[in-house]
């Protein structure tokens, strides 16, 4: 076997904890003979290892596959195994005080008495043997009967690929029976071959095997092959694998190009503006530089003139003009060269990377779409309660955001009382609804009822309530953010591949948004309450004369809208953090969602949320680093949008429009 570097030992350390966790059930362990027995069959070779003989030991261990073998191999290589001369048994040992040693049984891990270093032989493994052992360790794991151990070994190879792992992988792939693991092995082998194989044909074949692969590791490997360095020469040397030639003035700045020449000592240093100034400063004589008074040196032209005068006197290095630079640079070719000398390999890698581009864009688009959907569902959740109160009742409720906050704090309080996250979530959702429903009804009865004829003042009065509630929350819960933890089954993420993944929580919020939409449509269109709500919305006077009590309907509608805000608050609290200001962050966006969507329509709100979510993510795609810019442009878009559709996407028509 070839040489294994020290990293393999590190690798082994990475694998081991995994293996200990994945150790097969005790039943399987009993089937295999204990490690000590196996070792005793090759006692001599273990006790005095040599390169020629170590293969026998490894074969024996491989054949027996006793539990603890990898651990033993690691310790053996690390000179931590001791032989007791009396009976030839092997032990691990823990060092005590002085020369005392506590022997540890290899199989059970139990203490097997104390002794001194004089009474046992430490088995000294030389460097050559150690490499053999370490190589064996990798292939040992790759050939292990337990598929989980083989997968773990592959994962650790993928984490830190080394050229020396190629033979072990090839051997393992030849005998692998599990189809999934075999695929993974073949791909890893491609990855390793693409980077480390010795002959060009194997590498090109391996790279071709990676084409179309959109995983991060494959792309990273390909990009590594394609890494370049910037160079220049009078003529491109024979055998250079040129990535591209840089044209001075287009691909590379003239000054930058010249400075690279002067850095390399091929051209005289160019005195920049600062250098000219410093040179002049150093040559001031009696308030003059080369006959020019200092106070006149406040323009670049005068300074250059003074510098030329100094140059003629020979006191300073000559000025480098643009023509000088052009002449110097023209003699050189500036180019980027691949670190990889073989152009066949780099061409293949370039082609392989290019082949993935379209697929990656498609996946990225899918990722953006998912993000936008998720954001839209959050906007929808935040806005849907508002769509009821604002849309159906034409009441501006600036405290809507605070109802969201109240819901989130309800969730937090429930979670402090009930430790099980799933149960507490189940309790918190209806409780949040109840709390905010009550708050909404109280607010409607006490304040809003009196202001139905003065909508602008409703806006202000509810704003008063909003700042009071916000400050109250701050007084009760403090200013720092409170955690609202999602249950474990919502905490993970759903991964499609290395490019697209979405957290389960976002999916949960999406599902919740859909449930709310259906529930609300059902209530408004299929229940008595919904019928009465629509009647009161369209014509309160007529509804009242039909025996509907508008007061009661208004109260219930407002309570419903507020209650939904509370439930949304629990969801948003899990997604973001619970603070007293969390509601205020959503209020403006929520209003815009409702206005853009079209007041008085649930589908309108859905469309509005979808539009705003898609827009924000879409703009973010063009400028990923800057979410603020995305929000700014989104708001600008909305302002313009309302110019063209003042009534929103879904505009009510006829009498229901209420103009």
């Amino acid at each position: 076997m070839t040489r294994l570097p020290r990293t393999a030992l590190f690798l082994a350390c990475l694998i081991l904890p995994l293996l200990l966790m994945l150790r097969p059930a005790p039943l399987a362990a009993q089937d295999a003979s204990p490690l000590q027995d196996v070792l005793q069959t090759v006692q001599e070779q273990v006790a005095s290892p040599s390169r020629a003989q170590v293969g026998t030991v490894l074969d024996a261990l491989q054949a027996a596959d006793a539990p603890g073998t990898p651990d033993f191999l690691t310790r053996w290589a690390a000179r931590e195994v001791y032989e007791r001369p009396e009976d030839g048994l092997f032990f691990y040992a823990a060092e005590g005080a002085g020369r005392d040693l506590t022997l540890i049984d290899i199989d059970t891990g139990a203490e097997a008495g104390t002794t001194t270093t004089r009474d046992v032989n430490q088995i000294r493994v030389n460097a050559g043997v150690r490499r053999e052992i370490e190589a064996a360790l990798v292939s040992f794991e790759l050939l292990a009967p337990d598929p989980a151990r083989r997968s773990a070994a592959l994962a650790s190879i993928a984490r830190s690929p080394e050229p020396d792992q190629i033979p072990a992988l090839e051997a393992a792939l030849a005998v692998e029976t599990d189809a999934a693991i075999a695929t993974r092995m073949a791909r890893l082998l491609d990855l390793l071959n693409a980077r480390f194989a010795s002959d060009s044909a194997t590498r090109v074949a391996a790279i071709d095997g990676l084409s179309g692969d959109i995983s991060t590791e494959a792309r990273r490997a390909l990009n590594q092959i394609l890494s370049t360095r910037s160079e220049f020469a009078t003529e491109i040397p024979e055998g250079t694998n040129v990535a591209r030639i840089r044209v001075v003035g287009e691909d590379i700045d003239l000054i930058a190009a010249y400075e690279r020449l002067s850095d390399a000592g091929l051209a005289q240093d160019r005195p920049g503006r600062n250098a000219i100034r410093d040179a002049l400063r150093a040559n001031v004589v009696d308030g003059e530089v080369a006959g020019i008074p200092v106070h006149r040196l406040h323009t670049d032209e005068m300074r250059r003139e003074a510098y030329r005068a100094l140059e003629e006197a020979g006191t300073v290095a000559p000025l480098v003009t643009t023509a000088d630079m052009e002449a110097a640079v023209a003699q050189q070719v500036f180019f980027d060269a691949y670190l990889e000398p073989d152009s066949a390999v780099t061409d293949a890698a370039r082609a392989a990377l290019d082949s993935t581009r379209a697929t990656i864009s498609a996946w990225q688009f899918l990722g953006i779409t998912l993000d936008a959907l998720s954001l839209a569902s959050i906007f929808f959740l935040a806005a849907i309660g508002l769509a009821i109160t604002f849309g159906v009742m034409r009441v501006i409720n600036m405290a809507h955001g605070e109802f969201i906050m109240m819901g989130a704090y309800t969730g937090y309080v429930v979670q402090t009382l009930i430790p099980d996250y799933t149960v507490s979530l189940v309790v918190a959702l209806p409780l949040a609804f109840a709390v905010t429903f009550a708050a909404g009804v109280a607010m409607e009865r006490l304040v809003i009822r009196h202001l139905y004829t003065r909508p602008l003042e409703t806006l202000l009065a509810t704003f008063g309530i909003s700042i009071a509630l916000q400050q109250l929350a701050k007084n009760i819960f403090g200013t720092q953010a409170r955690p609202l933890t999602a249950p474990d089954w919502l905490a993970g993420a759903i991964r499609f591949n290395d490019i697209v993944s979405i957290s389960t929580l976002r999916v949960g919020i999406f599902v919740m948004a859909i449930l709310f939409l259906l529930l609300l449509l059902f209530i408004l269109n299929r229940t008595r309450l919904g019928l009465e709500v629509r009647a009161v919305t369209q014509n309160p006077g007529m509804a009242a004369s039909m025996g509907i009590n508008p007061d009661r309907i208004n109260m219930l509608t407002f309570g419903l809208g507020s209650g939904i805000a509370g439930v949304a608050g629990v969801a948003i609290g899990m997604y973001a953090q619970v603070t007293s200001e969390m509601g205020a962050q959503y209020i403006v966006q929520s209003f815009m969602t409702v206005v853009v969507g079209g007041v008085g329509s649930v589908f309108g709100t859905l469309a509005g949320a979808g539009l705003i979510g898609a827009l924000q993510k879409g703009i973010e795609w063009f400028n990923p680093a800057n979410t603020l810019a995305a929000q700014t442009y989104m708001v600008l878009f909305i302002i313009l949008f309302i110019q063209f559709r003042p009534k929103g996407i879904v505009a009510l028509k006829g009498r229901a429009a209420g103009d």
Partner: protein, 400 residues
Amino acid sequence: MKIDVSSPAAPAPVRRSFLRDNPSVLWFMGLLGLFTLGVTVLSEGMGVGVISTSLVKVLGMTLCLCLIAVAMDVVWGYCGILSLGHFAFFGLGGYAIGMWLMYARTEIVIRDNLGRGTIPPTEAEVSEAVAAQIFGVVGSSELPLIWSFAGSLPFQLAMVVLVPGLLALVFGWLAFRSRVTGVYLSILTQAMTLALSLYLFQNDTGLRGNNGLSGLQNIPGSLHLPQSVISVWFFWASAFALGAGYLLFAWVVSGKFGSVIKAIRDNEARVRFLGYNVEGYKLFVFTLTGIISGIAGALYYPQAGIINPAEIAPIASIYLAVWVAIGGRGRLYGAVIGAALVSLLSSWLTGGGAPNIDLGFYRIVWTDWWLVLLGLGFVLVTLFFPKGIGGLFDYLVRKS
């Protein structure tokens, strides 16, 4: 001045002189003059020193807030447009003047530093050093395009008027043209404010992102003067601006123009049917108040010393509406009372100036409870005193 909000169809008064028609303007001017005189005499910089420099600044800033409140009152109380965006204009005015203050002062400091070398600096060196000094915090050293004329005071003073004015003109034209009214307009103006503050929060928009502009209290050209004197100057300027603005608005809302905008407030459709160009009137009021707000901001921020995008956040404009509503809409002095009372009370109570009240079982800490009180108080005012504090004057006038 006595404007009866509830009965728009008051009998047309006989044509008299403007001031005789509006005695409250005279009263207001007199009180403002007395107040200015009193503060000057008691100030640290010019008088006996009873009023500290920081208090003079607070009072001067309050006068600026009163000015924007008067503007808000005209656009909302008289014309019926609940704009939740006037603080954006206020902030823009502040940014416009702040750019000059910051640039000119930095330039003086830089010239001083570079001038100490044996060779005088070139213009390019100065402007590069200034840019590096100002924009170092946002990781840039280039002067953005909008700062090209920041060194020129006349240009930036023009910007104080032009930027808010143009924004108000364009936004108002778009909004009124498509007949966005009522709460929709409020939300739209709020969206504009939000967009502006989000825009300013970005580091690469050339106004130092969330750091804002700072050191505005140092006036270039008067760096040798103590703050105590400068504070009184600004106090005078603010008082003059408030007086002039009050006079202007009182004149605008009286007479025929005032009647038309009040009619628009009360029934827009009817005014339109009478043949008036409603959009034109609204646009004029919106733009004029926007410009005055910008001027108020340009006077406010040199006294505050710092401006950052948080000042423009939508909530500030809502507070403005709260002040006007508490003071009393539809009467200019009401806006002044509301703004002065609420903003001074707020800074007194949240600044820890007020003693906490010990109830035995609970200790009322004003910094914690002031906003709760303001919020609830505001609800009560809206519900039971729609005329605000200014409405109390009606009782006085009726009794006499």
